[in-house]
């Protein structure tokens, strides 16, 4: 299979890294080769954050070459322009406006709602996603995030 490249971007504290942890866990449990890359440190202090996941039969570089992301998912609308160059021509852009924010039980679960929307383009099974969410998020946040994920799926 061809390598799938997904970039998540937003601001520190919006759950960008958590969303890609779940995404990478889903790809990992599907038995694929997966790489996930991001930069920690200074970026945690409210600045721009981006995280990249690549999966397929064999993935070499941990970083997605510019202009080769199949999907760009942003948790903050202002980060679209900063990251647009990462998306390939014809790639799919997923933004917060596509989600019915009013339907979100917890506004902090926007990252997972966006992941739910992304999931409608990917081939993983519903149970794979559910296991990945349960594995990466604390138990007390499972229900709100399962609901956010489903809301995202319905937003396609």
């Amino acid at each position: 299979m061809k390598t799938v490249n997904i970039t998540f971007a937003g601001l520190g504290g919006q759950g960008v890294l958590t969303a890609t942890d779940v995404l990478a866990a889903a790809a990992f449990s599907a038995g694929l080769d997966v790489k996930k890359s991001e930069v920690h440190g200074m970026s945690q202090r409210g600045g721009s954050v981006s995280s990249e996941v690549r999966y397929g039969e064999k993935v070499a570089s941990p970083m997605i070459p510019a202009g080769e992301s199949d999907f760009l998912v942003v948790t903050d609308a202002a980060q679209v322009d900063v990251n647009r160059g990462k998306l390939k021509s014809g790639g799919v852009l997923i933004t917060p406006e596509m989600i019915d924010i009013a339907g979100l039980g917890n506004k902090k679960a926007l990252n997972i709602a966006l992941l739910g929307l992304l999931s409608t383009y990917l081939d993983f099974l519903g149970e794979t996603w559910k296991a990945a969410l349960a594995g990466e998020l604390p138990a007390k946040l499972h229900e709100v995030n399962f609901a956010a994920f489903e809301l995202g799926k319905r937003s396609r």
């Binding site: 601001l11 080769d33 997966v34 890359s37 930069v39 920690h40 945690q44 570089s61 941990p62």
Partner: protein, 529 residues
């Protein structure tokens, strides 16, 4: 087939160090190395934060002198602090295992320089291994301990930001050694480096390094198309970028970069009309090739700056030296809302202070709206650089100089600056502001000697008290204030201390806004026990 895991490079190093049989992990936090010791602890290994990297390496040396395995972790600039023990440990015959992780930061995601610590390996005469991904981070950490015990030498493991923080699939092999048995065997001729013994030890070191060239030649791998139209010699994560940028090339991966696999590189390079070197940072592989008469195509200077990636490697191989497009600027980091440093920097700005700064979150005080830091060199330098300014500047300007340092950085190397201040007192006195947010915040909320907790957040046996220490050292005034609550009092106090000829330490104490909840949970966990 071993256990299939999804690990960051840092997690892989920690797991392998424990699997190799670890007696103690010691380090000082620094991006991108900080998560290694937390993961050692999570995997059941003994781990501690030392006050600085020199202390860490020396504690680890003691563990290895006792026959144990010790892992030392630090960021690249940490090895500058630990360089003194490193260069002499290279001479010493160690009975145990000693592996030192140097986490370099090409591109300076969170660092003050992009020094290439492969140069340290050559300068000190220490073996160095260089993994490209999490699997190799696991495998080469195991190998590093094996080589250290076999050759009785320390081994450097050089990783970079992308190797530390990228996650990938790694298979954990079957090695599960318990901590190594320890005992002391006297051997002063190989462990007391007086000149008479050190002369012999240096000769032993060089002779061992010659033998290790065979190991270096065996620690290579070939990737890509062996019949490719051109060759690439690479190391670290650059290997992976090259595999993707040039799928039809043959790639020789160098996994030991000191000593270097000269014979393998020579055999490889002669197979191709054109052989490139692809490496981040300095011209380490390239210069070694040239010195040994191996014909290679080097990198234009443009590519020694920053990280490489697939697109840059494509350009490099095409000989493209046209200017690269600047990345679209994102939102820069800033001091958090509610950060206790905010009010402190507002006062320093408004009073027109000349601020000698230090390394931590608070370095962000240089940016607007504060614009209140005038210099920042390295860990601990705020106090001593401030003293130099005090000595050299005319009196009216000297009186405006304030040194600003965080709590963890103070214990790291700031405390030496207080010794200098009391011993060589400037005529106008000096003011040192210690920003005590009760955690090592910048690197991800690690404990330090002043927090009263160990690396795993359980109560420590001892807690260092900043006020008691600086008072005992002979500082004239020691003030403690919360600049967020006592904002006006702080301005008044600072102005008064600056006007005097006293030596003053002001401890600005308020817990980090991000760490506060975590610190409460640690205290609650202790009470439950």
């Amino acid at each position: 087939m071993g256990e299939r895991l999804f690990l960051s490079g840092n997690e892989a190093i920690a797991l392998a160090a424990v699997d190799a049989g670890l007696n103690r992990g010691v380090g000082y936090p620094g991006t991108p190395s900080s998560e290694i010791l937390d993961n050692v602890s999570k995997n059941g290994g003994a781990a501690e934060w030392a006050p600085n990297e020199k202390c860490a390496l020396e504690v680890a040396a003691g563990v290895s002198f006792a026959g144990g395995n010790a892992l030392v972790t630090m960021k690249h600039v940490g090895l500058n602090v630990a360089a003194d023990p490193l260069f002499t440990l290279a001479y010493i015959s160690i009975p145990g295992g000693l592996v030192i992780v140097s986490a370099d930061d090409p591109g300076m995601a969170s660092s003050q320089n992009e020094q290439d610590n492969r140069n340290y390996a050559a300068a000190a005469g220490v073996m160095m291994l260089e993994p490209a991904d999490s699997q190799q981070a696991y495998d080469l950490t195991l190998k590093a301990f094996e080589l250290s015990r076999e050759f009785h030498m320390p081994v450097l493991l050089r990783v970079t930001t992308r190797v530390c923080h990228s996650k990938g699939v790694a298979v954990r092999g079957g090695v599960r050694n318990p901590a190594h048995p320890t005992a002391f065997e006297r051997d002063p001729r190989t462990r007391v480096m007086i000149p008479a013994f050190a002369r012999i030890a240096h000769r032993r070191l060089r002779s061992e390094l010659h033998k290790l060239e065979d190991v270096a030649n065996s620690l290579t791998a070939e990737h890509g198309n062996p019949e490719g139209s051109f060759g690439i010699i690479a190391s670290g994560v650059s290997v992976l970028h090259a595999m993707e940028a040039a799928p039809d090339a043959a790639i020789l991966q160098v996994m030991m970069c000191n000593p270097m696999p000269i014979e393998k590189m020579r055999e490889f390079a002669v197979r191709f009309k054109r052989c490139f070197v692809v490496e981040e940072g300095d011209y380490v592989l390239e210069n070694a090739c040239r010195q040994n008469g191996i014909e290679v195509i080097g990198r234009p200077e443009l590519y020694r700056f920053g990280e490489l990636n697939v697109a840059r490697v494509r350009r490099l191989l095409a000989g493209d030296t046209t200017p690269e497009a600047a990345p679209v600027p994102g939102k820069p980091p800033e001091l958090c809302p509610g950060c206790p440093h905010r009010k402190t920097f507002e006062a320093l700005r408004d009073l027109g202070c000349i601020v000698s700064g230090d390394i931590g979150c608070y370095t962000l005080g240089v940016l607007p709206p504060f614009s209140a830091i005038d210099s920042c060199v390295c860990m601990g330098a705020s106090i001593t650089v401030g003293l130099g300014l005090r000595h050299a500047l005319p009196e009216t300007e000297a009186r405006k100089v304030v040194s600003v340092i965080g709590d963890s950085t103070f214990w790291h190397t700031g405390v030496n600056g207080i010794v200098e201040m009391v011993y060589n007192r400037p005529k106008t006195g000096h003011v040192v502001l210690i920003l005590d947010n009760s955690i090592t915040a910048m690197t991800g909320m690690q404990e330090n000697p002043g927090t009263g907790r160990r690396l795993d957040h359980t109560p420590a046996d001892g807690r260092l008290d900043i006020e008691a220490v600086v008072k005992a050292m002979g500082v004239d005034n020691v003030d403690v204030i919360d600049t967020t609550v006592q904002h006006e009092e702080f301005r008044e106090l600072l102005a008064r201390r600056l006007a005097s000829n006293d030596l003053t330490v002001i401890v600005a104490r308020r817990v980090c806004v991000i760490a506060a909840a975590k610190i409460k949970s640690y205290a609650a966990a202790t009470e439950v026990k």
